[in-house]
């Protein structure tokens, strides 16, 4: 009786070994930049902040409620990752920040990823050295209103635009073709979608070509 019970118990333990099936995450969009290369080829520019850089230090200018919008954006993107690939913290000193969020337009001529929502617009510089493929932080995010402050919808617009631009700063260097995604060029939705999440996760588990230079 005892031995038979033990055999059943051991059998149950052996049977109780199995893994949940991981999702395929097939529904995603292209996040990497493709640049013409010598000889008619194409360079693939892919970037993800390394785990040694986490948590990223993010500074936001104290205007247009940018610190609050940036905090919201950090939380949105942290929630998309399962394994701590991105963690961010708002810092009070811009010195040494990895990402700087300011109000205003991006300087002309720089390599920027723009976005235009209804009431505001944003841009993120991706200052990558074309020869060395080195990226020197801080990245700059620019957010500005298209109408006077206080216009209905501006607060929501600043929130989603800051989150959209932070997505670029995290390594999503292209826009989604789907308006249901936060990373659509003229974003409407207020939070990352499942496709945004799949894309971000892929960006952090795919070999990168752009290295960080400090």
């Amino acid at each position: 009786m005892t031995r038979r019970g033990l055999r059943w118990a051991l059998l149950a333990l052996v049977a109780g070994c199995g893994d949940a099936a991981a999702p395929l995450r097939a529904d995603h969009y292209e996040w990497r930049l493709f640049e013409p290369a010598g000889g008619g080829g194409t360079d693939t520019l892919a970037f993800a902040w390394p785990s040694a850089s986490q948590p990223l230090r993010i500074w936001a200018q104290d205007t247009l409620d940018l610190p609050a919008h940036t905090t919201s954006a950090i939380q949105m993107w942290e929630a998309q990752f399962l394994y701590g690939e991105f963690r961010g913290e708002l810092v009070t000193d811009s010195l040494g920040a990895d990402i700087i969020v300011v109000a205003g337009s991006a300087p002309a001529g720089g390599p920027v990823l723009p976005s235009m929502a209804r009431e505001c617009q944003g841009a993120t510089d991706v200052a990558v050295d074309a020869l060395t493929f080195l990226l020197s932080p801080p990245m700059h995010i620019y957010v500005e209103l298209r109408f006077a402050e206080g216009t209905p919808g501006t607060d929501s617009c600043l929130n989603l635009t800051t989150a959209h631009e932070l997505g670029h700063a995290l390594g999503i260097f292209q826009h989604s073709p789907d308006p249901d995604d936060l990373m659509y060029s003229d974003p409407i939705v207020t939070a990352p979608s499942a496709r945004d999440r799949n894309t971000a996760e892929r960006a952090y588990h795919t070999p990168t070509t752009i290295q960080l230079s400090r």
Binding site: L13, A20, A22, R25, S51, L82, E201, H205
Partner: protein, 206 residues
């Protein structure tokens, strides 16, 4: 909000202990030890394997029971273990913080040989993260737990035995966030634990 199951189990243990202590052959024990668990989750993103793994965790185990038949006892056992967990991929490990497991088992036990007893149980285990993030973004989870093990008793004092307990158990793990992002099927997490402590009752020879 507290899950009703651990509250009920704790209440049963608390209310039942005085009666068990007064019984003719009470089975009361306390152990300190460690528990090792198999990975909490395996994932594959764009061909990259990711393993979420608990560290070996210190553990405290208490139990109480009574004989219910000539060679069979029944009891309740509670254990708490706490340690870190991490995600391992691309040759590096990312610290994800701390995790506490709290388990309650209803068990049966009986003799195998002199000083050696078997113990099998069924119950529930709570996996409680230190921070609601990552796979535990929506908090921890309570899942079914199945356990089997042996206890070895060494006479130590007139009222106490030294007790060495080994357990192998397995439980399902279903954090809400993993379901949300598309994991399917059941994740089983086998564990092995070893504890050393004191038992109030010297086990009668079988």
């Amino acid at each position: 909000m507290m899950h009703p199951f651990p509250v009920a189990c704790a209440a049963v243990l608390y209310l039942g202990l005085p009666g068990i202590a007064q019984a003719q052959q009470p089975d009361l024990y306390f152990q300190l030890g460690a528990v090792w668990a198999a990975p909490l989750l395996h994932d594959n993103i764009a061909g990259q394997e990711i393993t979420t793994q608990q560290s070996i965790a210190p553990m405290v185990r208490i139990g109480a029971g009574l004989p219910v038949a000539p060679k069979v006892g029944a009891g309740l056992e509670a254990a708490v273990a706490w340690g870190g967990y991490s995600a391992d991929y691309a040759g590096s490990s990312t610290d994800l913080g701390n995790i506490t497991t709290l388990s309650f088992l209803a068990n049966l036990n009986g003799p195998i040989a002199q000083r050696l007893r078997w113990r099998v149980g069924i119950g529930m285990i709570g996996t409680i993260p230190g921070e609601d993030a990552g796979i535990f973004l929506q908090g921890g989870s309570w899942n079914a737990l199945f356990s089997a093990g042996v206890d070895y008793y060494v006479p130590l004092k007139p009222k106490f035995d030294l007790m060495i307990g080994a357990r192998a158990d397995t439980h399902t793990l279903t954090p809400g966030q993993t379901t949300l992002v598309g994991f399917s099927g059941t994740q089983w997490v086998p564990r092995v634990s070893l504890g050393v402590g004191l038992s109030l009752k010297r086990v009668a020879n079988p």
